[in-house]
């Protein structure tokens, strides 16, 4: 586990809820009472399958979506209460990298302009200095300087993702939300990007919220990991503890489903099979969200939602088994 120089809490998420109204009487509870904190310099992983709310959570933490209830505090200040100039200042501190390298870059802008967009918005550098900064960013992410005058469509997925990273870094943020940055890339390119993110974190002292559904990558890059299911956080622990001793039945099933590139092991291992599909987050039933697919479900699970309790030091679970 990597050392954190400062155990200072950078981001605190308290009972965060984000609901969307999708029709008369239908509420999509994308994030339903989630609490955690992120320490300075660490990487917090957020895993879960599609529909679990991790992307919505990430974007709400960044302030791109407003919170229906609950707080997101950055160094003690509630970011959703910020307005105007203060809000703009906050965008300099917290940035985001997106999943889809093809949709996240404006096809009509040159790479240089894309990277410098943050600089232009905040008026940080002009002219010569601006160009220097663009080149600096390109160097950081391992691209050539002459790429600055080209257009996104001339690059591969991995290269575009690097451009997206350069764009986020250009305004020197402290905190970056990585919203599934490698899901759309080939396995060999994923390694490139992950190495790059780790290197940049070391060099620039960044804090990451790393959202993904690929558990092996998340374990590799994160210090602590939270597992989400249908808008709720079911387990939260350090990376090693989560994978060594998963407590929640969903976490266990998730880990069991990871394909292992080793035919010997694959042939002999016992997989935990999860039956059925993820239910809809619209107007969810009361009780534990996972009860319908859980093989340990008791009647209590269908009625009452379990508390998010600390079972061992730093290891939290939301389950009636504990």
């Amino acid at each position: 586990m990597s050392e954190n120089n400062a155990n200072e809490v950078l981001i605190e998420v308290k009972n965060l809820k984000k609901y969307f109204h999708v029709g008369p009487g239908a509420t999509l509870k994308a994030v339903d009472d989630v609490s955690f904190n992120i320490k300075k310099g660490e990487t917090l992983g957020l895993v879960g399958e599609s529909g679990c709310g991790k992307t919505t959570c990430g974007r709400t933490v960044l302030g791109l979506y407003s919170a229906t209830e609950g707080e997101v505090n950055y160094k003690g200040v509630n970011i959703h209460a910020l307005k105007g100039k203060a809000k703009k200042e906050f965008t300099k501190k917290a940035q985001i990298i997106f999943q889809d390298p093809y949709a996240s870059l404006n096809p009509r802008m040159t790479v240089g302009d894309i990277i410098a967009e943050g600089i232009d918005i905040h008026g940080l550098y002009k002219g010569e200095e601006r160009t220097k900064k663009i080149y600096e960013m390109l160097d950081h992410v391992g691209l050539n300087r002459e790429h600055a005058s080209r257009f996104p469509h001339e690059f591969s997925g991995g290269q575009r993702q690097r451009i997206g990273i350069a764009r986020a870094l250009a305004i020197e943020p402290e905190f970056i939300v990585c919203d599934e940055p490698i899901s759309a890339l080939d396995v060999s390119i994923q390694a490139q990007i992950v190495n790059l993110l780790i290197k940049l974190q070391r060099e620039m002292g960044l804090t990451y919220l790393f959202i993904a559904h690929d558990l092996s990558m998340v374990k590799h890059i994160s210090d602590r990991v939270g597992v989400m299911y249908l808008g709720t956080m079911v387990e939260f622990a350090t990376s090693d503890a989560l994978y060594a001793k998963p407590l929640h039945p969903y976490t266990q099933a998730l880990l069991s489903a990871i394909p292992i590139p080793d035919p010997e092991i694959e042939k002999t291992r016992e997989r935990i099979k999860l039956e059925g599909e993820v239910p809809s987050p619209i107007n969810p039933k009361p009780g534990c969200r996972f009860a319908a697919r859980c093989k340990y479900a008791k009647p209590e699970c269908l009625e009452k939602r379990p508390e998010f309790k600390e079972i061992e030091k730093g290891h939290f679970v939301s389950c009636h088994l504990f």
């Binding site: 960044l62 791109l64 809000k87 703009k88 965008t91 300099k92 940035q95 985001i96 997106f98 999943q99 889809d100 949709a103 996240s104 870059l105 404006n106 096809p107 009509r108 802008m109 967009e117 943050g118 918005i121 905040h122 391992g142 691209l143 050539n144 790429h147 005058s149 080209r150 257009f151 469509h153 001339e154 690059f155 290269q159 997206g164 764009r167 305004i171």
Partner: protein, 306 residues
């Protein structure tokens, strides 16, 4: 296999050589569009023809010494000959000069009308799509109301109210409801682009609305705007021609192609050439604009990029 020398088998690895190099030429959106347009022979031919017509409308009247309204009772209704290339009309005026001068007016009306439509329509649709919500609902309801007003009656009323001979009331009448089509299209396009992640990224970087509209939305919408302009010009030219034909449009001493056709119709059976030339020019202008517009629509379509 031929003998290969041993030193070819020493490992040299891959020092960070240009494995990230891009081999192809840098090609912008416009260059790609132009290249596709060039391949479309019909569109290019139309473009060429249009340029010729435009040039003629500027220079052709000067090729003859007759004035636009040079009435000459001695030379009425002469068929085309070497002196009067298109012949003369019933007041002895040279048809060549009048036709090209009329073309000038018609084209100007077409372009001005199209420009007004584009500016108003694009801004309106862009704002409606971008702001969304209640504002969008209200703005679109206004558009629907405007669309349901019978266009001809509106033009008539404005022309009667303004009671002038010039082209201003004509243009106002025509553009008052013409921009609604483009507004709807731009709104639709903006609605879809708004959801793209690069717009979200821009917001995350702290961009305000005007920056997002100008730098991200407009450039990606400009393709359909250009196509709309190209197709709007002939429709305004035709609208003007129609109005002038029924006597509501351009009045003397101004002339347009429609007015010329109108004047020539009573003499159609006896002096067909007087009707022939203006109608030919109108038809050519409309045809070429439409063909060019189609070609541009294909060339500028981002989905067809190779």
């Amino acid at each position: 296999m031929a003998e290969i020398s041993k030193d070819k088998f020493k490992i040299i690895g891959c020092e960070n050589n240009n494995s990230d190099e891009i081999v192809r030429k840098n090609i912008t959106y416009w260059e790609d569009a132009w290249r596709r347009l060039k391949q479309n022979k019909i569109a290019m031919f139309s473009l060429g023809l249009l340029i010729i017509i435009a040039l003629m409308s500027i220079f052709a009247p000067f090729m003859r010494s007759f004035g636009v309204n040079g009435v000459d009772p001695t030379t009425t209704n002469i068929s085309p000959n070497s002196l009067h290339w298109f012949g003369t009309d019933d007041l002895g005026r040279d048809v060549w000069v009048r036709t090209w001068a009329g073309t000038r007016t018609s084209i100007i009306i077409g372009i001005v009308g199209a420009l007004i439509e584009v500016v108003v329509g694009a801004l309106y649709g862009g704002i409606s799509g971008y702001v969304g919500g209640v504002v969008d609902d209200i703005l679109m309801r206004i558009v629907e109301i405007l669309n349901s007003v019978p266009y001809l009656i509106l033009v008539l009323m404005i022309i009667m109210l303004m009671n002038s001979n010039g082209i201003l009331p004509l243009i106002i009448g025509m553009t008052l409801t013409g921009w609604t089509g483009l507004a709807r299209m731009v709104r639709g396009q903006v609605l879809s682009i708004k959801e793209q992640e690069y717009v979200l990224a821009s917001q995350a970087l702290g961009a305000n609305s005007s920056r997002i509209i100008l730098k991200h939305l407009l450039p990606n919408v400009i393709g359909i705007i250009i196509v709309d302009v190209t197709l709007a010009v002939p429709s305004y030219i035709f609208a003007e021609a129609f109005l002038s034909y029924i006597g509501l449009g351009i009045k003397t001493p101004n002339i347009s192609l429609g007015a010329l056709c109108s004047n020539a119709t009573p003499n159609m059976m006896f002096y067909p050439y007087q009707l022939f030339w203006p109608s030919l020019i109108i038809s050519l202008i409309m045809l070429t604009f439409n063909l060019l517009g189609d070609g541009l629509a294909d060339a500028l379509d981002p989905k067809q990029r190779q």
